[in-house]
Amino acid sequence: MSGMVEKRGLGIWLTHLGLIIGIAIICFPIYMAFVASTVTQPEIARPPMPLIPGPHLIDNYTAALTRGVNSPVLLMLFNSSVMALGITIGKIVISIISAYAIVYFRFPFRMAFFWMIFLTLMLPVEVRIVPTYEVVAGFGMLNSYTGLILPLVASATATFLFRQFFLTVPDELIEAARVDGAGPVRFFLDILLPMSRTNIAALFVILFIYGWNQYLWPLLITTKPEMNTIVMGIKQMFPSGDDIANWPVIMATTLLAMLPPVAVVIFMQGLFVKGLVESEK
């Protein structure tokens, strides 16, 4: 509301109209995907495809979930969940304990470790694809959950976020805890961890989306269809050559692939926004 002096009459309605048009454009691809997931293959193959949903929603989703094209989508959803949760929980655990070490202890090479973690910001997986793939292949981690998760669990961003938060925790709390007889482990578990709840939750939302949406990495690491994650599996559903793709099933899969992260964003919008803003500080 700050951008404007109070607006009356026609102007405000035009603004609403503009917003609605903008939202309609942005939502249109999703709507088309939804319509496609409720009609039959021939209806799409003879353009123009219908603009209103058809009666085949249950058929298409059942077909996708139980059979899919190369492997059942249900299995891909499971793989995606394992990968996303593994990355999310892994990153949070690893980052919160390293931030704890860096903030609450003094020890030789502390700053060296700090900079080492910092430098990983400059090494996104896209940049070091081939050699990272070779390392993972060398460990025999291809087509495994470990291979999908482990190389992605280091997180400079999450470490900095926790460090930032720890620095705002008053020193007296750690002193009170020491007088109460708490050592470093108890202080972490009983005091610091519960106090970090909101930060952990916000980070969880952001990292879950990050993990779920991984594409290039699973594309390289999983060669067996039964290890495919849903986001990279969609592309594998397109036939090679000139065969017509099974669009209703592909679109059903596409919607299933976006459902978990979108639901997380919509239902945890507050935490999501907090996570975005905090992780950019």
Partner: protein
């Protein structure tokens, strides 16, 4: 319950020494207030007792044990912090119980001890609340409760009342004192507020620039300040000071042979505002102009500027008549009320 002993306690941060050797013995059950301006090292001294700061040199004893190298939890102490340091995510009950839980005290006993403390501090209705749902005074009590339930042999208070408003501060200061009496636990209490020091302490340690300038009962400190600093810091309004040479002609300075800058020689004379009185020109020891008179009801504080520009404060009873502002006034006092200090600021023998 325990005695506390300080022997030549020193603290340095790198090359900077901030506490220059403090010696003091505190008896069992005593409430000692450490008072001084900010930066005088009083909090550091307290935190060294708590084990939150290391001791660079010297020795601190609690009971019969030297505690220099003991962890805070091994020292049998409890501490009340300036900002209370309550655990924000725990209920009042859990805040008080936390130390006991860590110590492995059985659940039933924890509940009993917390209940007892809560009753004593009138916190019973709030046990399920979180700290943020409490008022400042209530948080203060929770911090007290957390200390009490541990049944420690020493209480440490680090400016516990400075975040409260004036009215609550007066009330809490009485409560803390009463509670300490009742429990009989040896206590160290740090404050910058000399009124708190005077009203609460069995004995006061006045600190300045890393030194303990004086250790004594409130009245001893008030009536026989060991240094110019103590005279100026304890008492409100503070003691008036004059160059001794000014009074040489008055005939008031008895027993002191020599006035001057040499060691052991009399340099500064102090007199409390209540020991100055208005008088006629003939009896005058000092003369000047009345700048302003602050009528406080029970007493009036008259600010007088002497002829050489020096300012003095005179405290007189509220009912007395006070000369008009701007009037020329004359002040007198008696020799037994004068405090003598050497050039090094130390009190000279009477």
């Amino acid at each position: 319950m325990a005695k506390i002993g300080f022997s030549n306690v020193r603290k340095s941060y790198g090359p900077t020494e901030v506490i220059h050797g403090v010696d003091a013995e505190i008896a069992d059950g005593e409430l000692i207030v450490i008072v001084g301006p900010s930066g005088c090292g009083k909090s550091t001294l307290l935190r060294m007792v708590a084990g939150l700061e290391t001791i660079t040199a010297g020795e601190i004893r609690i009971g019969d044990r030297v505690v220099n190298d003991l962890e805070p939890r091994e020292r049998d102490i409890a501490m009340v912090f300036q900002n209370y340091a309550l655990y924000p995510h725990m209920s009042v009950f859990d805040n008080m119980a936390y130390g006991l839980k860590i110590a492995g005290v059985p659940k039933a006993e924890i509940a009993e001890r917390v209940a007892q403390a809560a009753k004593m501090l009138e916190l019973e209705p709030y046990l399920d609340r979180k700290p943020r749902q409490l008022s400042g005074g209530q948080r203060q009590r929770v911090a007290m409760g957390r200390a009490i339930v541990r049944k420690p042999s020493v209480f440490l208070f680090d400016e516990p009342l400075s975040n409260l408003d004036a009215k609550l501060r007066v009330q809490m200061r009485v409560e803390i004192k009463t509670l300490q009496r009742r429990l009989g636990v040896t206590s160290l209490y740090v404050t910058h507020d000399q009124v708190e020091a005077m009203t609460m302490a069995d004995r006061i340690i006045v600190m300045n620039g890393g030194n303990a300038e004086q250790v004594g009962t409130p009245l001893a400190v008030y009536h026989k300040p060991a240094t110019v600093f103590v005279g100026g810091f304890i008492g409100s309004p503070p003691m008036n000071f004059l160059q001794a040479a000014r009074l040489q002609a008055s005939g008031l300075l008895r027993k002191v042979a020599e006035v001057g800058g040499a060691a052991g020689a009399l340099n500064t004379v102090g007199v409390r505002p209540e020991h100055l009185a208005f008088c006629s020109e003939g009896e005058a020891v000092l003369s000047g102009k009345l700048m302003i008179a602050e009528a406080l009801g029970a007493e009036t504080l008259a600010h007088v500027e002497l002829d050489d520009g020096e300012r003095m404060i005179v405290r007189i009873e509220g009912g007395r008549e006070v000369p008009a502002a701007g009037a020329r006034v004359h002040l007198s006092c008696t020799s037994e009320h004068l405090h003598y200090f050497g050039a090094d600021g130390k009190r000279l023998p009477d």
